[in-house]
């Protein structure tokens, strides 16, 4: 059973929820886009539906809400180490199915890879409830269907936004109580996008051999990619970070250790002492990223890392297309098996 509520009623409930929850949604920030006079859609706290941008894809993913770009791990003084606290407030995020699936990838790295869980990720992640935005149709660059990123049932509330009402499928009792009051009960099955304009065949992991790594499809990217790392920062599933220490004052007695997002496309990602580096060519880095997204992660966890949100394509200043790149890998793999 679903509920149909007016926009006004929906906003009213959001308002009630804002006592206990910080609510995030995709928001349009005017004139902050990549080019002059363009806008930027990113995740910000919102207080009502009118503040949300639902007709465009967000440039940045919602991952920074639970995995901040820069996060202090601890402060220290001469004889004391202190871990900064996070607000008690719980968190609601309005996001699309691909991003919910993306969060599952982040969960996998931070909570399941290795014997220890990530303290900082976990304490924010536990506060979060997902309000899924039902996609009417994908955007131009989406390829979520190819990546199996189009469907999920990991939501507290699924919202289908219509012009003058919202239809809600609610799985979380807390929200059912709030939204159902005075709402009209309707029949509605949660709808997912079943087809994208961009389709790509993902090569089966057991077919990806050394030849793919050594193939010269990657040299193209050595020339095209400028190593800016935008594809990584916009990606919902990129999880890498680097430690950074900072001290205040001259005597090194006070300071902080923090982590900042890292990008495998940017210089220094694999640089060790003595400037020994493992992937100096941009093409090798593209290969590393691609394999992580559509091969390596799957070998460890049984599903692909990439969810097909298409953001890496949207943000690349060199118009490098990730699905095209996957296609090239697939061609090599198919070529190999035809021999």
């Amino acid at each position: 059973m679903a509920y149909k509520v007016s926009i006004k009623q929906f906003n009213h409930v959001l308002n009630t929820l804002s006592d206990k929850y910080k609510i995030y949604g995709p928001k349009k920030i005017e004139k902050k886009g990549r080019y002059s006079d363009t806008d930027l859609v990113c995740y910000k706290p919102i207080s009502g539906l009118d503040e949300m941008e639902l007709n465009e894809k967000s440039f940045f993913s919602p991952k920074e809400i639970i995995y901040p770009i820069r996060e202090t791990l601890f402060y220290f003084t001469e004889d004391n180490v202190s871990v900064p606290s996070v607000p008690d407030e719980k968190i609601i995020i309005f996001l699309r199915p691909c991003d919910i699936n993306g969060m599952k990838r982040l969960d996998t790295i931070f909570l399941q890879n290795g014997p220890e869980q990530d303290f900082y990720y976990k304490r924010l992640r536990e506060k979060v409830k997902f309000f899924m935005i039902e996609c009417n149709e994908g955007f131009d660059s989406c390829f979520c269907v190819s990546m199996n990123g189009n469907k999920t049932d990991e939501y507290a509330v699924a919202c289908k936004f219509n012009n003058d009402n919202v239809i809600l499928n609610i799985q979380d009792e807390e929200f059912k109580a709030l939204f159902s009051e005075g709402a009209e009960e309707v029949q509605h099955e949660v709808e997912f996008v079943e087809e994208n304009k961009v389709k790509v065949e993902i090569p089966p992991v057991d077919k990806v051999t050394k030849e793919v790594f050594e193939n010269d499809i990657w040299t193209e990217y050595t020339h095209r990619c400028i190593g800016c790392g935008r594809c990584n920062t916009s990606c919902i599933t990129c999880a890498c970070f680097t430690m950074q220490d900072q001290h205040y004052g001259k005597d090194n007695k006070m300071g902080e250790r923090r982590r900042v997002w890292a990008s495998c496309q940017v210089d220094g990602y694999s640089t060790m002492a003595g400037n020994h580096d493992f992937r100096t060519k941009k093409g090798d880095r593209m290969r590393f990223k691609t394999m992580h997204k559509i091969n390596d992660f799957h070998k460890r966890f049984g599903f692909h890392m990439c969810v097909g949100c298409g953001r890496c394509d949207d943000v690349c200043p060199e118009y490098i297309s990730f699905p095209k790149c996957i296609e090239k890998v697939n061609e090599i793999v198919k070529g190999d098996s035809n021999e």
């Binding site: 790295i109 303290f119 990602y269």
Partner: protein, 263 residues
């Protein structure tokens, strides 16, 4: 909730020079360790880096550190009595049982001797546990030689080949790359031989090839990798090669696996 990123302070008991830029730091130890594991060593406000445990007892552990940058410069300012911060131990380390009853050959290049030093000492003290033991260590020049006194001590029981890449007339020992010495090393009973190779990537590459050329099965060769690491616990991504995380599944790898890893 356990916070794996919080380092704990431990006291430096002693430090001494190995070569001009390599010093060994001895610190208090309260951990259960395996040779070949590493710690994330840090000075808050300066930096954090993975450093191998070169040797240990249940009272202390040693780390041999090369002064190369921000953190290691800071560590070189510390003295006995000062505190340093650690978290770990991390990584798999060497499985000693693997080498028991075997002809053990260890080849180490430069600072690569540090991560295997505990293994060397273990079998030096328990020679009855191996059939034979050969240690081939190479350094760039005589001035780069680490653990000089210990190498001399080991020579009493172990078949030690100490070589330098280049030397002046005053050097009376062996010269040439470790690969040259692998080529002539006495290896009869290949079925019962296990080899450990640790050193700079290029040295490991050619040393392992040399053993394979000599007819040793790949699964009898073990190597230890170094990669950039920010976390040591499988989150930061820096150490990843293909689907393998060096901080989790390594740094010690069997060559059968290691040779398939493409950075």
């Amino acid at each position: 909730m356990n916070n794996p990123y919080l380092p704990r302070p431990i006291k430096i008991i002693d430090r001494w020079e190995e070569s001009g830029i390599d010093h060994t730091f001895r610190v208090e130890n309260d951990m259960n360790l395996i040779g070949g594991q590493f710690l994330q060593l840090s000075i808050p406000g300066v930096g954090e880096a993975p450093i191998s445990i070169s040797d240990f007892t249940d009272k202390y552990l040693d780390m041999t550190i090369r002064k190369v940058g921000k953190l290691t410069d800071g560590i070189f300012d510390l003295q006995a009595g000062d505190k340093i911060f650690v978290r770990g131990p991390y990584g798999n380390g060497f499985n000693l049982d693997q080498y028991k009853g075997k002809n053990l050959v260890i080849v180490a290049g430069g600072t690569g001797l540090a991560p295997v030093k505990n293994v060397v000492n273990y079998f030096y003290n328990n020679m009855d546990l191996v059939k034979s033991f050969t240690l081939i260590v190479g350094f760039k020049t005589p001035n780069d030689i680490l653990f000089r006194d210990e190498i001399k001590k080991w020579s009493e029981k172990i078949n030690v080949v100490l070589t330098v890449d280049s030397a002046d007339e005053s050097w009376t020992g062996e010269t040439g790359l470790v690969t040259k010495h692998i080529a002539v090393c006495d290896m009869k009973d290949l079925d019962n031989t296990e080899v450990i190779v640790v050193g700079p990537p290029i040295m490991m590459k050619f040393a392992t090839i040399e053993f394979v050329k000599r007819g040793l099965a790949e699964e009898k060769i073990w190597v230890s990798f170094e990669r950039k690491m920010s976390c040591g616990i499988g989150k930061c991504g820096h150490c990843k090669i293909d689907e393998t995380y060096v901080c989790l599944e390594g740094p010690v790898f069997n060559y059968v696996k290691a040779k398939e890893l493409i950075d």
